[in-house]
C-alpha cells in the first residue's frame, strides 16, 4: 500500500493542521510516513504545499515524484491546480470551492472551477458553508479533509481518533465541531 498526497493552500489557511491529523492517524495505523512542508517566507500569504507519503513499507524520498500523487487535497481552488504535474492519471483532486483572493490578478472563479472539472476524478466542495452549518466557520480545512478521506488508505475511525487527540487540549466543544466537520465532508463525497 502506498498513498502519496499533496496538500495545498495559502499560508495561514490551516494545511498544516490537515497534515497533523493525517500524521497522527498514520502513526496510529502503524504506517510509515514522510511529510515535507515549507516554512518561512511563503507562510506570509503565499502559496504553500506539503508532500505527504504513507506506506506499509519504509518511504525513501521526502518529495513525491512528478506524476505519482494519488491525491491532491486543497483548501483553495486555484492552488489545487498548481500541483497538477504531480497528480497521477488515476489520482483524485479534492478542493474547497472558496477562493482566497489576495492578489490583484486572481482569475475569474468560474474559469478556475471549469479547469478543475476537466480533471477526471475531482470533488469540489463549498467547505466554508458546510463548516458554518456544523458550527464553526474555521473548520473548513477539516471539511475538505473529510471530503478527501475516502481516497486516503486509512480507516475513517483513525482520522476521527486523530482529531480527538489533536484538538483535545482546546476543549470538548472544539473536538465535537471538528468531528462534525470531518463527517460532513465525508458525507458530501459519499453522496456524489
Amino acid at each position: 500500500m502506498k498513498n502519496d498526497i499533496i496538500l495545498s493552500g495559502v499560508g495561514g489557511q490551516g494545511i498544516l493542521s490537515i497534515a497533523a491529523v493525517i500524521g497522527l492517524a498514520a502513526v496510529d495505523s502503524n504506517l510509515f510516513l514522510k511529510q515535507s512542508e515549507v516554512h518561512g517566507m511563503s507562510q506570509r500569504g503565499g502559496d504553500v504545499q506539503s508532500h505527504f507519503r504513507l506506506s506499509d513499507k519504509p518511504v525513501a524520498s521526502d518529495l513525491i515524484p512528478l506524476g505519482k500523487a494519488d491525491l491532491i487535497i486543497s483548501v483553495e481552488p486555484m492552488e489545487s491546480l498548481r500541483y497538477l504535474p504531480w497528480l497521477s492519471k488515476q489520482g483524485w483532486l479534492v478542493t474547497s470551492s472558496v477562493p482566497f483572493i489576495n492578489i490583484p490578478d486572481y482569475p475569474p472563479v468560474d474559469d478556475v472551477l471549469a479547469e478543475i472539472k476537466k480533471i477526471k476524478n475531482h470533488v469540489i466542495i463549498d467547505a466554508d458553508s458546510i463548516a458554518r452549518e456544523v458550527g464553526s466557520a474555521r473548520s473548513g480545512n477539516i471539511v475538505v479533509l473529510g471530503a478527501a478521506s475516502p481516497f486516503i488508505n486509512m480507516p475513517f475511525s483513525s482520522l476521527e481518533k486523530a482529531i480527538r487527540k489533536l484538538f483535545e487540549r482546546k476543549g470538548e466543544e472544539i473536538v465535537t465541531v471538528n468531528l462534525k466537520a470531518l463527517k460532513a465532508g465525508r458525507d458530501f463525497t459519499g453522496l456524489k
Binding site: 502503524n30 515535507s36 516554512h39 506570509r44 500569504g45 491546480l81 474559469d111 480533471i119
Partner: protein, 536 residues
C-alpha cells in the same frame, strides 16, 4: 513495531542533543534551522535538566557562547541557517584550531533553491575550509543517531563537528526511534591545557599542524565510517555516488532495481577515499548526486582525468543551481519520468505579502510618499518581512544583501554623495548586525536616515524573541544619535500624514537621524492575545 515519535529533521537533531547530555543550545533564528532551538525551548526535559536555551543576538555570539560552554567541559550545540555560518565564520574556523573541551556540534541548515534565503551556499565547504569533520544525514533517524556520534567524535579528537542538513530534511517529518537511555550532562571541567584556547601565533602554529594531522586520519574513525555504505550491483557501465538526501531520491528511482546499480552512499566528510576508489574501479561511468555545490565531484575530477567518465553538475547532467528532486535524479539516470497534467495557464503566481494589519506596510506607505520628491534609488533595506517592500505595489526598496547591510550601505552611498541615503531595517536585524553600522555613521556624522521598523519580534521566522524590545531608543542614544533626530512614530494609517512629515524632515537633515516605527507584529499580537485569554 516502530517507535512512534514523529519528528521534523530539525526536531530529531534537537531531541538527540537533549538525549546525548546537552548543556547549552545557542542559535539565532533562520529558516530552515529555527525549529531546532524552538523544540528545545518547548521541551519539558530540557526545562527539567535546566539546559541553556535562550536565543543569541546573532550567529557569531551564538557560536562563541557555545565554545565557552565547551571550554567549561559541557556539551554544546549551535544552530543556524547556512548564511548564518558566514556571520559565525570567524569563531567557527578558529574553534577548529583551539579545539574543544566538551563536545561541540555546529548545525548549519542549507537552503538550496532559496525557498527562504539569499543564496544557496553549501556548508560542506565550510567544514573542509575549517578542517573539521562533517555529517550529512539522509533521513530523520540518521540525523538523530549522528548527533550522539558527533558529540563523541568531537570529544575524542577535541574538534568541533559540523552537521549539515538541507531544507527538505529540516522540514520533513518521519518516525524516529529514540534511545531509552538518555545520557547525563557532563560536569564542569576546565581544559587540561591552560593555553588550549589561546591562539597566539606561536601556539596557533602548533595547533594548526595538529589539526591538519587529525583531519587526515579522522575519516577512518568508525563513528564517521559507519554511515557510509557500498552496495554492489550488476551494472559495470554506471555506478552512483549519492550523498545526504540525494540518496533518498536515488532509492525512489531504482525501487525494484536496487541490484542493478553499484551505489556508494556518502554521509560524512572528509569523504571516504577508499570506498570511492572501490566504486570507481568497478564502473566505466560514475554519476555523482549531491545537494548543493559539486564538492565530491570536484574532488573526483581533479585536473588530470584518469579516463573515468564522471556525470554530475560540472558536465550538465545535473543542473548547477536549485535543489535535487526525484525528477532531476530520474533524468540523470536516463529514466523517463512521469508527469501529470501541466499547470493551466490561468494559474497566477501568489508571492508572499504583508499580513493585514502589518505595521511595515504603513511605514512603507509613508516612506514612499516622503521619498518621492527625490526620485528612485534612495532606500537600502535588509533581511526580514519588510523585504517584501521590494514587491509591487510598494517597489520601495533598492537593496537586500545581508543582515545589517542596509545601514552600512546607506553610509557608503552617503559617502559617495547620495542624498538622502535611507536605511530600512527591522528591530531584530538591527540588534543582530545593524548597531555597529550605526556607530560608524555616528562617528563620522553621515547624512543618513535609519528607519528601524520595530515589530518587537523576529517576525519572518515565526515570532521569536527580539533582543532589545523596548530598549532601541536607549541603544541609539547611547551610541551617540542626537536626541533631536531620534524620532518615534507609530505606523498606523491614521498617522500617515504626520509620519510622512517626520520622515521628510529627517531626510532633509544632514547628519545621522533615526526613526523608530513601533507597532507589534500582527501575528505575534494575535498569538499573545490568544495565550492571554486562555490563561484567564
Amino acid at each position: 513495531m516502530m517507535n512512534k515519535t514523529l519528528l521534523l529533521g530539525d526536531e530529531a537533531i534537537a531531541q538527540a542533543a537533549i538525549d546525548a547530555g546537552l548543556s547549552g543550545m545557542y542559535a539565532y533564528p533562520g529558516t530552515p534551522s529555527t525549529e531546532i532551538m524552538e523544540y528545545i525551548q518547548s521541551s519539558d526535559t530540557a526545562a527539567e535538566r535546566n539546559i541553556h536555551r535562550e536565543w543569541s543576538s546573532n550567529e557569531k555570539t551564538a557560536i562563541e557562547a557555545a565554545l565557552g560552554m565547551s571550554y567549561a567541559g559541557k556539551r554544546a550545540m549551535v544552530a543556524m541557517k547556512h548564511v548564518g555560518l558566514n556571520v559565525a565564520a570567524d569563531g567557527f574556523i578558529n574553534s577548529a584550531l583551539t579545539g574543544v573541551n566538551g563536545g561541540l556540534i555546529v548545525v548549519s541548515a542549507d537552503d538550496p533553491s532559496m525557498h527562504s534565503s539569499q543564496n544557496e551556499q553549501d556548508s560542506r565547504f565550510y567544514a573542509k575550509f575549517a578542517f573539521v569533520p562533517c555529517f550529512e544525514p539522509s533521513n530523520q533517524q540518521e540525523a538523530y543517531d549522528m548527533v550522539f556520534d558527533a558529540f563523541e567524535l568531537s570529544e575524542k579528537y577535541k574538534i568541533p563537528v559540523l552537521l549539515r542538513i538541507t531544507t527538505r530534511l529540516a522540514h520533513s517529518r518521519a518516525s524516529v526511534r529514540l534511545t531509552k537511555h538518555p545520557a547525563p550532562q557532563k560536569k564542569l571541567t576546565l581544559p587540561q591545557d591552560p593555553v588550549q584556547f589561546v591562539l597566539l601565533p606561536a601556539i596557533a602554529r602548533k595547533k594548526y599542524k595538529a589539526l591538519l594531522k587529525t583531519y587526515d586520519t579522522i575519516r577512518y574513525d568508525a563513528r564517521l565510517e559507519k554511515y557510509n555504505s557500498f552496495s554492489d550491483g550488476r551494472k559495470r557501465d554506471l555506478g552512483v555516488i549519492a550523498c545526504g538526501i540525494a540518496y533518498n531520491y536515488l532509492l525512489e528511482n531504482i525501487e525494484g532495481k536496487e541490484d542493478d546499480y553499484p551505489v556508494l552512499k556518502i554521509a560524512t566528510y572528509p569523504f571516504p577515499d577508499d570506498l570511492i576508489k572501490g566504486i570507481a574501479g568497478r564502473c566505466r561511468e560514475l554519476l555523482v548526486l549531491e545537494e548543493g555545490y559539486p564538492l565530491i565531484e570536484e574532488g573526483l575530477r581533479g585536473f588530470l582525468n584518469n579516463g573515468l567518465k564522471i556525470l554530475g553538475k560540472l558536465d550538465g547532467t545535473i543542473p548547477r543551481d536549485g535543489e535535487l528532486t526525484p525528477a532531476v535524479v530520474a533524468k540523470a539516470l536516463g529514466f523517463e519520468a512521469a508527469h501529470g497534467e501541466n499547470v493551466p495557464s490561468l494559474v497566477r503566481m501568489r508571492p508572499p505579502s504583508f499580513c493585514k494589519g502589518c505595521g511595515h506596510a504603513d511605514m512603507f506607505n509613508s516612506l514612499i510618499e516622503a521619498v518621492s520628491l527625490y526620485g528612485p534609488g534612495h532606500v537600502f533595506s535588509d533581511i526580514g518581512c519588510y523585504t517584501l517592500g521590494a514587491l509591487p505595489p510598494y517597489n520601495a526598496i533598492n537593496s537586500c544583501v545581508d543582515m545589517g547591510a542596509s545601514v552600512t550601505m546607506a553610509v557608503g552611498a552617503a559617502d559617495a554623495g547620495l542624498f538622502p541615503s535611507i536605511a530600512v531595517i527591522g528591530d531584530s536585524t538591527f540588534t543582530h548586525s545593524g548597531m555597529t553600522g550605526l556607530l560608524d555613521a555616528v562617528n563620522k556624522n553621515s547624512p543618513v536616515t535609519i528607519i528601524i521598523s520595530d515589530n518587537s519580534t523576529t517576525g519572518m521566522t515565526g515570532g521569536q524573541k527580539s533582543q532589545a524590545t523596548g530598549r532601541l531608543e536607549q541603544i541609539c542614544l547611547g551610541m551617540g544619535v542626537s536626541p533631536e533626530h531620534l524620532r518615534n512614530i507609530i505606523p498606523l494609517r491614521k498617522n500617515h500624514e504626520e509620519n510622512t512629515r517626520i520622515m521628510k524632515e529627517e531626510f532633509e537633515y544632514r547628519g545621522v537621524s533615526v526613526i523608530i516605527a513601533v507597532r507589534e507584529c500582527i501575528q505575534t499580537a494575535t498569538r499573545r492575545k490568544k495565550a492571554e485569554s486562555s490563561n484567564e
